[in-house]
């Protein structure tokens, strides 16, 4: 795979053929082309460009954007350790070091025989069963030193993944609290039959009455979004289910797709009925690729049952079908316009808005982008009516919310609550004790301190897309914020100046503090950067990137001040660290091989 022989052109042509030589399929083609050889050699990119009649530079641009596409050789076993803060709290760093030692390689490098490469990746959505990893795209949770030993052995023996113990790949749902959605046991098609009965207009009115708001983060009124797309001109209209779920600490969409896929696909079809859409996409994050076969099977079953395709439930003017498009490791593709670019086979760069997707989305057509949970919830509305739905929750937040709970608690997993539930109640239910802080809404959400635990989950108080990460008294909130800053720097798409450069600068400042070189002046620069990122960024990624720092600086300031050397200015450059490579080369680590920095001299 790595030291490749001739490019297997026949297989590559098969991939191109399957995708109809269509440039909008470029990302899907690249993903499948990579399956053939494990990475994407330069000749493969050239061949793809020629076959699709597009410039090679465009193909290279796309291949270079996504974390899971490789234009350099990687190991036949490609191990990626999930690196959310919750994985770190469960010891992923030690486990990765152990695996690297056992296989004699360095993180980020390819072993000389091309057998294995080991690196980290952003949150894989397995925070309830971490520490987790992906091996050649397949998820393994609950890593222990014992599992690491076994994995090292199997890699050394070059045992094919299919022959690894099946329990390694078992991903549990960990549903701990059910409410209306998770208790719903619906016969596929029941919600559809109900809305066809209502007619398109009547159905839209029910959604309006339900006060359903988007569960993907922004909380936009679903009925308004659907109505705008319905009234916009342009055909065919598109429904996109956003299953990118990249927000660190969020994994509720994973569970919905694993065990409630019929509700999700039915929800998409309900949206199609309201909007008059005929094409649907499920944009599935690359980390969840292991769900593909079962999701395809559900789609096939629904087609056979007349719930997708032509004349759905024998309704003459109701055609709609769904295709699954894979992402390839890019958090920004959860942003709806970046997602649409990615669906079109491009780099996932957010668009200028307006125009909004409801008027000009996928290929310029009216497009609704909804979160997985939002769409599943529409089944409840179809079955019991809008008013019943609006009756639970709070004034501005109707219905229930799925929370993905992880971190320091006895029972991590999925909890469904009516909106309005206080933080303290949730902490009690999941068996958290000595809680110092909760990060609600993921890295881009808010960090709540003890005095705020009476606040409630609701759009009007603590809004959330679903993540709920718990930190007890033993945790250092600076480390938490720093991990999130690294996440944003890694995931910035690089389009706009403030986010591209600002997230890296912020990372530099946080690292400088972590290394004990921070000065008061750095805190002022951090403040300034926070504000610029918030104000000037092109999309929500950049404007949310400083949130973890802003919150923890305000609420846990001693965690920062502890790290300052009491100077107004400290250079970030560490002379001693600069000699590390020389020490390694000469295999020396004695005192004579170290330079003393002034902190130590002061002591």
């Amino acid at each position: 795979m790595s030291a490749l022989p001739a490019t297997p052109t026949a297989a590559l042509d098969g991939v191109l053929q399957r995708h109809g030589h269509c440039p909008t399929e470029l990302l899907q083609i690249l993903i499948e082309a990579q399956d053939l050889e494990g990475w994407l050699p330069a000749q493969t990119l050239t061949h793809i460009a020629q076959s699709l009649h597009i410039p090679r530079s465009r193909v290279e641009g796309v291949a270079g954007f996504y974390s899971f596409l490789y234009t350099q050789p990687v190991g036949r076993y490609r191990v990626l350790f999930s690196d959310n803060i919750t994985d770190r709290m469960l010891g992923n760093t030690e486990l990765m070091d152990a695996l690297c030692r056992k296989l004699w390689i360095e993180p980020g490098k390819l072993s000389e025989d091309g057998l294995v490469s080991i690196a980290t990746t952003s949150c894989t959505g397995l925070c309830d069963q971490g520490p987790a990893m992906l091996v050649n795209g397949r998820a393994i949770g609950q890593l222990t030193h014992r599992r690491i030993n076994e994995i090292a052995e199997m890699i050394r023996q070059q045992r094919p993944l299919e022959l690894w113990p099946a329990e390694y790949f078992q991903i549990g749902d960990n549903i701990r609290r059910k409410d209306s959605l998770l208790n719903l046991d619906m016969k596929p098609g029941a919600a559809l039959a109900a809305v066809i009965e209502l007619g398109r207009e009547g159905w839209l009115q029910e959604v309006q009455k339900s006060n359903l708001r988007g569960r993907g983060g922004a909380g936009f009124a679903t009925a308004v979004k659907w109505a705008s797309a319905r009234n916009a001109s342009g055909e065919p209209k598109i429904i996109v289910c956003n299953a990118d779920e990249g927000e660190p600490g969020t994994f509720k969409d994973r569970v919905l797709l694993n065990s409630y896929a019929d509700l999700v696909f039915e929800g998409m079809t309900l949206a199609a009925w309201a909007v008059g859409a005929s094409e649907g996409f499920l944009y599935l994050r690359g980390e969840y690729r292991y769900l593909m076969p079962q999701l395809e099977a559900v789609l096939t079953r629904r087609r056979e049952a007349g719930l997708l395709g032509h004349h759905i439930l024998h309704e003459p003017c109701f055609d709609f079908d769904i295709r699954i498009h894979l992402g390839a490791g890019a958090y920004v593709c959860g942003e709806e316009t970046a997602l649409i670019e990615s669906l079109e086979g491009k780099r996932g760069t957010p668009r200028i808005r307006p125009p909004f997707p409801v008027t000009k989305g996928y290929l310029g057509r009216p497009t609704v982008v909804n979160n997985v949970e939002t769409l599943a919830k529409t089944c409840l509305i179809a079955l019991a009516g809008g008013e019943a739905f609006a009756a639970s929750g709070t004034a501005q937040s109707a219905g229930t919310k799925l929370l993905s709970i992880s971190g320091d608690c006895a029972e991590p997993g999925i909890y469904e609550y009516p909106f309005g539930v206080p933080i303290a109640r949730i902490l009690e239910d999941c068996g958290a004790s000595d809680t110092q802080a909760v990060q609600v809404g993921g890295a881009s959400g808010v960090c709540l301190a003890g005095y705020e635990f009476q606040r409630r989950i609701a759009y009007e108080d603590v809004p959330t897309a679903g993540a709920f990460m718990i930190f007890d008294g033993s945790r250092d909130l600076f480390d938490v914020a720093r991990a999130f800053v690294h996440f944003f720097a890694h995931e910035s798409c690089g389009f706009c100046t403030p986010c591209r450069v600002g997230t890296s600068l912020l990372q530099g400042f946080m690292d400088k503090l972590a290394d004990g070189h921070g000065a008061k002046a750095d805190l002022a620069d951090i403040d300034w950067l926070d504000r610029l990122l918030k104000n000037a960024s092109h999309c929500g990624l950049g404007s949310a990137a400083p949130n973890p720092v802003i919150d923890t600086l305000q609420k846990f300031r001693p965690a920062y001040e502890r790290r300052l050397v009491s100077l107004d200015f400290e250079p970030a450059f560490d002379l001693d660290a600069a000699l590390a490579e020389a020490r390694q080369l000469t295999a020396r680590d004695d005192p004579g091989a170290h330079l003393h920095t002034h902190e130590e001299e002061e002591k």
Partner: protein
């Protein structure tokens, strides 16, 4: 009645669909830009044109003007943010102006003067970006790229060649050319392409024409970018 908005307290007339930046410049008010070009749709990436409209930060080049808006642009706050963005662009690349052929004609440098950027403020990134001297007529010095994508757009949309594209992501984003070898000489690039003349900084440079106009007599040596831009765009 023509519609108007207020820019730093002064009325600016506009037509429907016109952006804040276009309307302002037409009326003789300067808002800076780097990635914007009058012959192309807005790009919205450099954020130098950032203004506050009705209390919210927006890119003036990409935001259609609205009747009655109060827009803040030439204020200490906005100019401070612009200076910060310029500092970011400087430390991100390798800009050694004294030895740069574009010095004096460079928009980034000119904006540095305009917004009184006296220090780089942040640590330098010192990225490794090797120069491509393979082409007989043109040189690519990637060290100075600010990712405005003007060359990308010009080559794709006007020259019909797509010689340039961006690849990589985030801080690792970089310019690439349309050849498997990665060498400009192996593309169909020509010195007569629009893409060969459009770079606002010193990346895409003609070979063998070094310093024909002496430093001190170049575009922005004799006139500020503010007054030059206004003259160009009013006409």
């Amino acid at each position: 009645m023509t519609k108007q908005f207020l820019l730093d307290g002064q009325p600016v007339p506009f037509e429907d669909g016109q952006t804040i930046l276009e309307a302002a410049r037409k009326a003789g008010h300067y808002i800076p830009s780097l990635c914007w070009h009058q012959d192309f749709p807005p790009h919205g990436s450099c954020k130098l044109c950032i203004v506050k409209a009705a209390g919210r930060h927006v890119s003036a080049c990409a935001t259609p003007a609205k009747e009655g808006w109060e827009v803040e642009s030439n204020t200490p706050e906005m100019n401070g943010e612009r200076r910060g963005l310029l500092q970011m662009l400087f430390v991100e690349g390798n800009h050694f102006c004294p030895s740069c052929e574009k010095s004096g004609n460079c928009e980034l440098q000119a904006l540095g003067y305009e917004y009184e950027m006296l220090t780089p403020r942040f640590r330098h990134f010192f990225p490794e970006r090797p120069v491509d001297a393979s082409h007989p007529d043109m040189l690519l010095d990637f060290n100075r790229c600010i990712f405005c994508e003007l060359c990308v757009r010009a080559s794709r949309d006007v020259d019909g060649k797509s010689v340039f594209a961006l690849t990589g992501r985030g801080i690792h984003k970089h310019l690439t050319v349309n050849a498997e070898s990665g060498r400009l000489a192996d593309t169909d690039f020509s010195k007569d392409d629009l893409a060969a003349r459009i770079c606002p900084v010193g990346v895409i440079l003609p070979k063998g024409r070094g310093f024909t106009v002496p430093i001190g007599e170049r575009t922005f040596d004799t006139e500020t970018i503010r007054s030059r831009t206004l003259k160009e765009e009013k006409s």
